[in-house]
């Protein structure tokens, strides 16, 4: 469903990513692992069109998207949850959702506000709260809800577990499994191997912008060498 080939990208003169290749299918949670600064977030931004590629192509449902403006990519059904949440702090919960709202898609799960509020009961109880007045965990729920209400077919999640209390991390894992169950394709960036194990089907490991490993999550669990070399701090 989502495929990246020969991706090279960076910021201005600085090159960050080198010939990355990734694939993700519907109903699958693919984890992109790597240390801090490895280029995980940069990969997601490149897919989303927030960064101009130096080379390579990105296809979504067989269609090239690497030249499209960001909003067109989003409207094709690719959702993006950035690492720093980027809640609209001046807007209420409902207004944040309104920004993300898109028309229902025949070939993607439909998320009404009611359905989202059953998934995130906290949000349902604070619909008129300003985004800036929410706790970190609540904001994290809101960013995901804000993306889901656009009824995406695939979602890019950038370190959703970062900085959250253990209970909420648990809840986050449940949410991602829920998304997977509904048939979404999820590409998840993580540093937290434990969290990745909870939800991931397959994994890619990158280091300094180069792809170092790809395989199933179970294999990675057995491969101490790779973990040692590219993931341990």
């Amino acid at each position: 469903m989502l495929e990246v080939r020969g991706l090279n990208a960076g910021y201005g003169p600085a090159k960050i990513l080198f010939d990355l290749a990734l694939k993700a299918a519907p109903g699958e949670v693919v984890v992109l692992l790597g240390r801090n600064g490895a280029g995980k977030s940069t990969t997601l931004k490149s897919i989303m069109g927030l960064l101009r590629l130096h080379a390579g192509e990105v296809t979504f449902e067989g269609r090239r998207i690497d030249r499209l403006p960001t909003y067109r990519i989003a409207r094709l059904g690719l959702g993006y949850v950035p690492e720093d949440r980027r809640i609209f702090t001046d807007l209420t919960v409902m207004e944040n959702l309104e920004v993300g709202r898109q028309a229902p898609r025949a070939d993607a799960p439909h998320w009404s506000p009611e359905r989202l509020f059953t998934l995130f009961p906290n949000l349902g109880r604070m619909q008129d709260r300003l985004g800036g007045r929410m706790s970190g965990g609540e904001q994290q729920m809101l960013t995901i809800a804000r993306t889901l209400i656009g009824n995406p077919k695939a979602v890019l999640l950038d370190e959703p577990s970062e900085g959250l209390a253990p209970v909420i991390v648990e809840q986050m894992a449940q949410t991602i499994l829920e998304m997977k169950k509904s048939g979404l394709c999820v590409l998840l960036c993580e540093q937290n191997l434990h969290f990745a194990h909870l939800v991931g089907d397959r994994a890619y490991v990158i280091e300094k912008g180069h792809l170092r490993y790809s395989g199933s999550m179970a294999e990675l669990e057995r491969d101490d060498a790779v973990r040692e070399q590219f993931l341990s701090v």
Binding site: L50, R75, E95, V99, R146
Partner: protein, 610 residues
């Protein structure tokens, strides 16, 4: 003052606040969403005035107002779609420059269409009388305006809070990249916001015609007022614009009421400076979110290669030989070019490597010029002494104002530099006994041994070349590198023990001092100076030159100064509508070379090398 006259002044203030609010609200909306500092906003207001005056004769005042607003809205939509849309990715200042070019074009269009005379508007039928309030006559139309401002505020508030469009606008104001990642089409949003802003400006202008004649001078004065209001209120905040418009209009009304009407020229800038010092993001503003996404990484300022140095030496040598072949007018023009080259290099010093985007650099040029003039005429100092000491006045001014300016950043800093320049300007303009007021100072002549055109040319050449060389040398000294480090990464520079503010403050003062040298040379080359010497338009000329030359290049400002001064001189002598031509040239250049001309050439050369 009696109670009744206080009441009347208060009502006067309210009536002025309404139209100020209309303009400022549009400006604030546009800035909030598109991040464009729209200098043409006052021109849209002026167009609204002229279109309404033009139409009122045929269809009556009340119909002319909405039609003028719509016409201006349509014009705004065109401008956004044809021009601004192409430069949203360009550096902030270049965008500002493009809108300034638009000011020139609109001004000359208005001149061509409606002529140079002020045009009196009609009275508003039905509201052309006056009512008696507390024993004073008060125009009915002003009461209507007093009610109209809050109505527009309410309408805007509903639009922003109760519609999907409004929600998207507020989201994009905060983080437009995130909004687009959620599927919000920025293009459409930007066009609609700009159109609405233009409509409000046009409406503000049209509604003003029963109170003031339509005049060609209104564009810059309105946009400067509107900026002050927006900055005081907090960029992007509509209620902030309303409160600030009220505040400024009332303060001005009471200045007039208490008999200090000359104070109105400067009071708003003083208020703005005070507000910015106390609340750096305006009354209702909040600390801006740091720029998102790939930050613009400035290209490093490489030391000039041997070839470049050789070329510069060759140019200097050629300039030294110039009087052998040319005399008269060419030398006069060359003196201008050299002076503006130094002015531009000093502005570039603080803008490019310093990273402080000054919109009031003319103040230091003017302080240099007035320092020289006052020393020579009021103190009777010899010309050589005046020339030597005048720049110190500019340096001192920059030292004082710089202290405030380096405490701010971004647009706020830019506006504060403008405020200080306006404050100096209005002091000079009003202090008749000392500075000569609007007439300025005349009879400034060089010492006899420098009186010939050739001698003065050599004086200018030697001074400017030496000053420019010195400034460039400083850029490659430890101080220059530290300045760039402070610009590129203030936090990191701070962490390794550099005092960022101190550095920038010093840089600001140095730039002011050198602008003062240019100003002093200018004063004696012209023989007379007036407040024009330090007007906003001179600051803008400096910006145009620096941006045309390319802000992240070393020698760009010099070429920019040569091209611009020559172009302006030739055009002003040969073409009636030279402003429009210059505006059009700037627009074309901005569209074709969003990195400046020298930046463009450098990029091409680099590409060829790799």
């Amino acid at each position: 003052m009696t109670y009744s006259s206080i009441l009347i002044q208060f009502l006067n203030g309210l009536a002025s606040a309404s139209s100020l609010f209309l303009v400022a609200a549009g400006l604030s909306l546009i800035f909030g969403v598109t991040r464009i500092v729209n200098f043409a906003h006052g021109s849209l207001y002026m167009l609204g005035m002229y279109v309404a005056v033009g139409l009122a004769g045929q269809i009556g005042f009340w119909w002319s107002v909405p039609l003028a607003a719509l016409a201006v809205a349509g014009f705004g939509a065109l401008v956004e779609a044809l021009l601004l849309r192409r430069i949203y990715g360009a550096p902030e200042l270049l965008q500002a420059l493009a809108t300034f070019a638009l000011v020139l074009v609109v001004k000359d269009y208005t001149l061509w269409q409606w002529g140079p005379e002020d045009i009196l508007g009609p009275r508003a039928p039905g509201l052309d009388g006056a009512v008696t309030i507390a024993g004073n006559r008060f125009p009915e139309y002003d009461l209507f305006l007093i009610a109209f401002g809050p109505l527009v505020l309410a309408a805007l508030w509903l639009l922003l809070k109760r519609t999907r469009w409004g929600t998207l606008v507020r989201a994009a104001t905060q983080d437009r990249e995130m909004a687009s990642a959620l599927g919000v089409n920025q293009r459409w949003l930007f066009t609609s916001v700009f159109t609405l802003g233009a409509c409000l400006a046009g409406l503000g202008g049209a509604l003003q015609i029963p109170r003031e004649p339509a005049t060609l001078l209104i564009d810059l004065s309105v946009v400067v007022d509107a900026f002050v209001v927006v900055v005081i209120g907090g960029l992007g905040s509509i209620p902030g614009a309303f409160v600030a418009a009220f505040l400024i209009a009332e303060i001005k009304a009471f200045c007039i009421g208490l008999g200090y009407s000359t104070l109105t020229l400067v009071i708003e800038f003083i208020v703005m400076a005070v507000v910015l010092v106390i609340r750096p993001w305006g009354l209702f503003g909040r600390k801006p979110v740091l720029p998102r996404g790939p930050g613009a990484i400035e290209r490093p300022l490489t030391p000039p290669s041997r070839t470049v140095i050789a070329a510069l030496v060759a140019v200097t040598a050629a300039l030294a030989l110039l009087p052998l072949a040319y005399g008269g007018y060419t030398l006069v023009l060359m003196v201008d070019i050299l002076i503006f080259a130094l002015f531009a290099v000093s502005l570039h010093f603080i803008m490019g490597p310093g990273g402080l985007h000054s919109f009031g650099h003319a103040a230091y040029f003017g302080l240099g010029a007035y320092g020289a003039g006052l020393l020579a005429v009021r103190a009777g100092a010899p010309m050589e002494v005046s020339l030597a000491f005048a720049p110190l006045l500019a340096g001192l001014g920059a030292l004082v104002f710089g202290w405030f300016c380096v405490r701010l950043s971004g647009v706020y800093l830019t506006m504060l530099t403008l405020a200080f320049a306006q404050i100096i300007w209005s002091i000079v303009f009003q202090w008749d006994d000392f500075t000569g007021g609007s007439n300025g100072i005349v009879g400034l002549w060089p010492a006899p041994w420098l009186a010939s055109k050739t001698a003065y040319y050599y004086l200018t050449l030697v001074s400017c070349v030496a000053a420019i060389a010195l400034l460039w040398r400083v850029l490659y000294s430890p101080f220059g590198y530290a300045l760039r480090a402070a610009r590129d990464s203030p936090t990191r520079a701070d962490a390794i023990g550099m005092d960022v503010r101190q550095l920038q403050w010093a840089g600001f003062a140095v730039a002011g001092l050198f602008a003062g040298i240019a100003g002093a040379l200018y004063a004696f080359s012209k023989g007379s100076i007036s407040p024009e010497t330090m007007a906003v338009s001179r600051s803008v000329d400096g910006l145009v030159i620096v941006l045309l030359g390319g802000i992240q290049t070393l020698t760009g400002p010099v070429w920019g100064a040569a091209l611009f001064t020559w172009l302006q001189d030739t055009m002003a002598r040969n073409i009636d509508y030279w402003r429009a031509v210059i505006g059009a040239v700037i627009l074309l250049l901005v569209l074709a070379f969003p990195q400046g001309i020298t930046g463009f050439v450098a990029e091409r050369l680099e590409q060829r090398r790799t």
